[in-house]
């Protein structure tokens, strides 16, 4: 008979008993029959048989213990009793269960985020081997910059740590499939990159090795050096379903950026490049010209370490390579294309290094810290919930005092009573935990739906087995913790539940001290949560009020791409012009313009320029302009960007012979410190081409935050597209732009503008989609979506914390007042001032709160240090935030203490004394 059947028998105990009884009965009856047969009278035979058998009850018990597991039986009995006890105290049970449900629920929700986002490995095979490689140019302040083709190819050649290294860039493209015109996200990759990631197609094939990389370019380059890769593409599973309806697509031709390409494969479901939601994969091609332009950086690399190489070893190799790169590549370091090479950090201003970081870290970024902060906060909230439930149990123990005393008098050992209490509290927390898991499921669905992009890897967040298991463990742990806390006073030894009132008083005092301690702990934890939440709320507020440099109210934006292969250069400019003219004529539109870069989400251009009268000693060694903004007419007026010096563009500039430019304050202060910028000249620089026109600066515009409100503004030059457009451009700057962002300032909301804009663009060219139409406010909100989610969640948790603290304080105080009714009644009868009673009880509530606040404040100052990297424009020790946190906790404590205090002062001494 195995232990499994012994456990099962616990639930079949009546059957087990019956079989045992029958067997014993048979034996005794057989003995009686034999004795009667030998002549004994029946009564005597009965008595003799029983005596000979021995202690029937005890034998049966012994046999029973063989058949079923005794401790399981005791446990089941305790569970049944605990359930019955809870049924008889529904209010207590509900409050306790709901409190724990809240605490465990938020914990489960955050646990699923920790598990899905931070702990689960990336979906690439053996993803811990994947490293993300970029470059640094410290002299320009570029801490994460791209890699050039030459640097990439040389790295593949020189390194020994990586089994494979590939390159990519990302962007957007126009896709025309049948009659649908879409803007999709593209990943431009070479075959080594596909091999490195290990992504596989579910239909068709990956790119062949001669379709990407060196010398795979097909046909002549477009003007400005745009290289045409082979006309193949792979689409993502998601795009295949949404745009092609899942129909057979391999071998079909589609239009990508006006060029016909053949779909050669469909990627597996969920295959992606770095969370960028890639819809279409295109081949990366480069020519010998690309290779010789050593200082033209546009690639990012991902490498897979060899099985035997650790990241530390690879980093060490990288460091040595930095020092010896120039030698290995046979390059003499210098300025210009040919002399551009990696140099270690020790080279100071000339330093240019290749750096690597694990791919997972790059994807997570600051989300790592944010999520751990959330986890810490909910852990504290859970502790507070446990403290509250422990308090409830202590109160309940008081109420059941007599019951326990009776049980002890009947012989129940201390261990038995402890076990029963713990079973009860574990039951409460498991039921609460189950409820909490349900609540977590809803919460997770709500967060994922409302903030789809606010966390990296958010589609991994789910209530799967490890999360559920951990929740169960946490629930059981809470139950044990709470149960132990509530029976701590049983340690008083023999006679704990003696009926004497003297002993009872001292036990009561101990329990009261215990409850007070719990309230102090709760208050301290609440201060910590509220303070940290406050810092993050202030951060988001600070981000919202940053002056981005332009007026974003009632400003709508959308982007259109007129791809190189389908539009000639001048034709593009004229089309943009016609679109703007038509939009400006519509009712409700006050102004409209277009530009190449949309503020708050721009990527660096960082292209070299020649700048007149620039002395290299004070700034970057080679002048480089970080952002190029090519604009149409009315730009500064429409955007609301003030000119701090000189003037903006005028319509006469479009036809003027002199090329004009406007710079921003940062550029002026970087390159023309102490000089008057107006009248200075600059030109984008290409070696050997002195035919590039010089641009004369006519004005200085106020800085616009290009990359985000929390990033400093970079140097920027504004050029007028109308002046640039020419049939034979010699530099990429002079090609009329393929993608422009149109902004419209209107008196009507975006939803009204949308159909009008779609119609205008469609009438002018039906193959061009209107992409990303939204208000600038939305662009701004998206740029701060991550800190905003964090601060909102923390605010929610601190609300929960305040609620729990209030309930805890109220509960302890209310019970204390009830307990001491006699004492208060007597005092009032003897003439005590009601106000004094009120104040006395109020103090009883506030003093633990004040102690808790003092402890909590210390904890908060320590904890907030960990938040430093997440804060913006506010110190971790910010006095105002701490003060508000402290005030709110004390306020809540005062409020919670007020009602019991008021009730105490309103007690009727006659009624109390009569009830004695």
């Amino acid at each position: 008979m195995s232990w499994l059947s012994r456990i099962v028998n616990v639930f079949r105990s009546s059957d087990v008993d019956r079989v045992l009884d029958e067997e014993i009965a048979f034996h005794i009856e057989s003995r009686v029959a034999d004795l009667v047969r030998d002549g004994m009278p029946r009564d005597a035979a009965d008595a003799l048989a029983r005596r000979q058998f021995g202690n029937r009850l005890q034998r049966r018990e012994e046999s029973r213990e063989v058949r079923l597991m005794p401790w399981v039986e005791a446990l089941v009995r305790d569970i049944r009793l605990a359930a019955r006890g809870l049924r008889h105290a529904p209010v207590f049970a509900t409050v306790a269960i709901v409190t724990l449900a809240l605490g465990i629920g938020v914990n489960t929700a955050i646990l699923s985020i920790v598990n899905g986002v931070l702990l689960r490995p990336l979906s690439y095979p053996r993803s811990t081997q994947l490293m993300y490689l970029t470059t640094q140019l410290p002299a320009y302040g570029f801490s994460e910059f791209w890699v050039s083709v030459a640097e990439y190819l040389e790295f593949r050649q020189f390194n020994n740590s990586f089994a494979e290294v590939g390159a990519f860039s990302t962007g957007e493209a126009n896709l025309v499939a049948g009659d649908r015109s879409l803007r999709v996200r593209s990943a431009i990759v070479d075959t080594p990159l596909l091999k490195t990631l290990g992504v596989q197609p579910i239909q068709g094939r990956l790119f062949a090795s001669d379709e990407t990389g060196t010398n795979s370019a097909r046909g002549p380059s477009l003007p400005g050096g745009v290289v045409l890769p082979p006309p193949v593409a792979m689409i993502s599973y998601e795009l295949w379903q949404s745009a092609f309806g899942g129909e057979p697509v391999v071998g079909r031709s589609v239009d990508v950026d006006g060029r016909r390409v053949q779909v050669v494969g469909v990627m597996a479901r969920g295959a992606d490049l770095l969370e960028s939601h890639t819809d279409i994969w295109l081949p990366l091609a480069f020519t010998e010209d690309d290779r010789s332009a050593r200082d033209n950086h546009g690639l990012t690399l991902i490498g897979r370490l060899k099985d035997t190489v650790t990241p530390a070893a690879a980093q060490a190799e990288l460091d040595t390579l930095m020092a010896s790169w120039a030698e290995r590549a046979h390059i003499t370091p210098g300025s210009g294309h040919a002399g551009h090479v990696f140099r270690p950090l020790s080279a100071g201003r000339d330093a240019h290094i290749l750096q690597m970081t694990p791919l997972m870290d790059r994807i997570l970024g600051r989300a790592n810290r944010s999520i751990w902060v959330l986890q810490a906060a909910v852990a504290l909230v859970l502790l507070m919930a446990c403290a509250n439930v422990a308090n409830l149990l202590l109160v309940r123990a008081e109420v059941r005092y007599h019951e326990f005393a009776l049980l002890q008098a009947l012989g129940a050992g201390r261990g038995r009573l402890v076990r029963r209490s713990i079973v009860e509290s574990v039951m409460i927390s498991i039921v609460g935990g189950a409820l909490g898991v349900l609540f977590a499921r809803l919460a997770i669905a709500a967060v994922v739906h409302a903030f789809p992009d606010s966390l990296p890897r958010i589609n991994n967040v789910a209530l799967d087995a490890p999360v559920l298991m951990w929740s169960f463990v946490i629930a059981t742990g809470c139950g044990l913790l709470v149960g132990l806390a509530s029976v701590m006073q049983l340690d008083q030894g023999v006679g704990t539940y003696a009926f004497t009132s003297a002993t009872r008083g001292s036990v009561r005092a101990t329990r009261h001290r215990l409850r007070r301690t719990l309230v102090i702990v709760e208050t301290a934890l609440a201060v910590m949560v509220v303070a940290c939440a406050g810092l993050l709320v202030r951060t988001v507020h600070n981000l919202t009020v940053v002056d981005a440099g332009f007026n974003r109210s009632r400003l709508a934006t959308f982007s259109i791409t007129l791809p190189p292969s389908s539009f000639e250069l001048l034709g593009r400019v004229h089309l943009y012009q016609r679109i703007l003219d038509q939009i400006r004529a519509k009712p409700g539109v006050r102004a409209a313009t277009a530009m190449t870069g949309l503020p708050l989400a721009r990527t660096l251009d960082a292209s070299q320029a020649e700048i007149s009268n620039y002395i290299a000693a004070s700034g970057p060694p080679i002048p480089s302009i970080e952002y190029y903004q090519r604009v149409m007419s009315d730009y500064f007026e429409t955007m609301g960007i003030p000119l701090v010096q000189g003037r903006g563009f005028r319509s006469s500039d479009a036809v003027s012979a002199t090329r004009v430019a406007v710079v921003n304050e940062t550029l002026a202060s970087t390159y023309w410190k102490g000089l008057n910028p107006v009248g200075q000249r600059l030109r984008p620089w290409i070696p050997g081409s002195d035919q590039n026109p010089w641009f004369t600066v006519i004005g200085v515009a106020k800085d616009v935050k290009q990359a985000g409100v929390d990033q400093p503004a970079g140097s920027e030059v504004y050029l007028l597209v109308d002046q640039l457009a020419t049939d034979s451009p010699t530099t990429w700057v002079a090609i009329s732009p393929t993608t422009m962002n149109v902004v419209v300032r209107a008196t009507v909301p975006v939803s009204t503008l949308a159909p009008m804009i779609a119609r205008v663009v469609h009438d002018l060219d039906p193959t061009v989609p209107v992409a990303n139409l939204r208000g600038m406010d939305e662009v701004f909100a998206e740029s701060i979506r991550r800190p905003r989610l964090l601060s909102q969640l923390l605010a929610l948790f601190s609300g929960l914390a305040l609620l729990l603290a209030a309930l805890g304080t109220y509960g302890v105080l209310a019970y204390s007042v009830t307990e001491r009714r006699h004492e208060i009644g007597i005092r009032l009868a003897l003439g005590a001032n009601r106000m004094r009673v009120l104040r006395h009880v109020l103090m009883q509530g506030l003093v633990p709160a004040l102690i808790g606040v003092a402890i909590g404040l210390t904890g908060a100052l320590v904890a907030s240090r960990l938040l430093t990297s997440l804060l913006f424009a506010v110190e971790p020790t910010d006095v105002a935030t701490m003060a508000i946190a402290v005030e709110s906790i004390i306020g809540i404590a005062a409020l919670a203490s007020w009602f019991p205090a008021w009730r105490a002062s309103r007690l009727d001494p006659n009624a109390i004394l009569r009830a004695e």
Partner: protein, 109 residues
């Protein structure tokens, strides 16, 4: 449960196994009868047989089934298993070696 100071405690299982081995399946009352007929010296409280039987059943040395007696009454009969026979063999060998050793000491000491 406190253990009873029964002189037969350790050897009761051995006895039961031997009886079942020699005499085939028997119910508890019959086993009691055989023990008593075998030896007056080994007097045991009748009830203590049953916990022993149930422990041995749990250990897998005997197995039980319901039978109908000649008086048309239902009873549980126990039968020795192969594991039980193996245990019996081991225990017999053990007893034998102990008695041999004691005899030797008595003879040659």
């Amino acid at each position: 449960m406190a253990t009873r100071p029964d002189t037969l405690q350790g050897s009761l299982p051995l006895l039961i196994l031997t009886i079942l081995d020699r005499r085939g399946p028997l119910h508890g009352y019959a086993i009691t009868g055989h023990i008593q007929s075998l030896s007056d010296a080994l007097r045991v409280e009748e009830g203590s047989l049953y916990p022993a039987l149930h422990r041995m059943e749990e250990a897998g040395w005997i197995k039980a089934r319901t039978i109908v007696t000649e008086h048309n009454r239902r009873a549980r009969a126990y039968e020795i298993t192969s594991a039980g026979r193996r245990h019996l063999g081991i225990e017999e060998a053990r007893w034998r070696s102990i008695t041999d050793a004691v005899n030797y000491v008595l003879k040659h000491a």
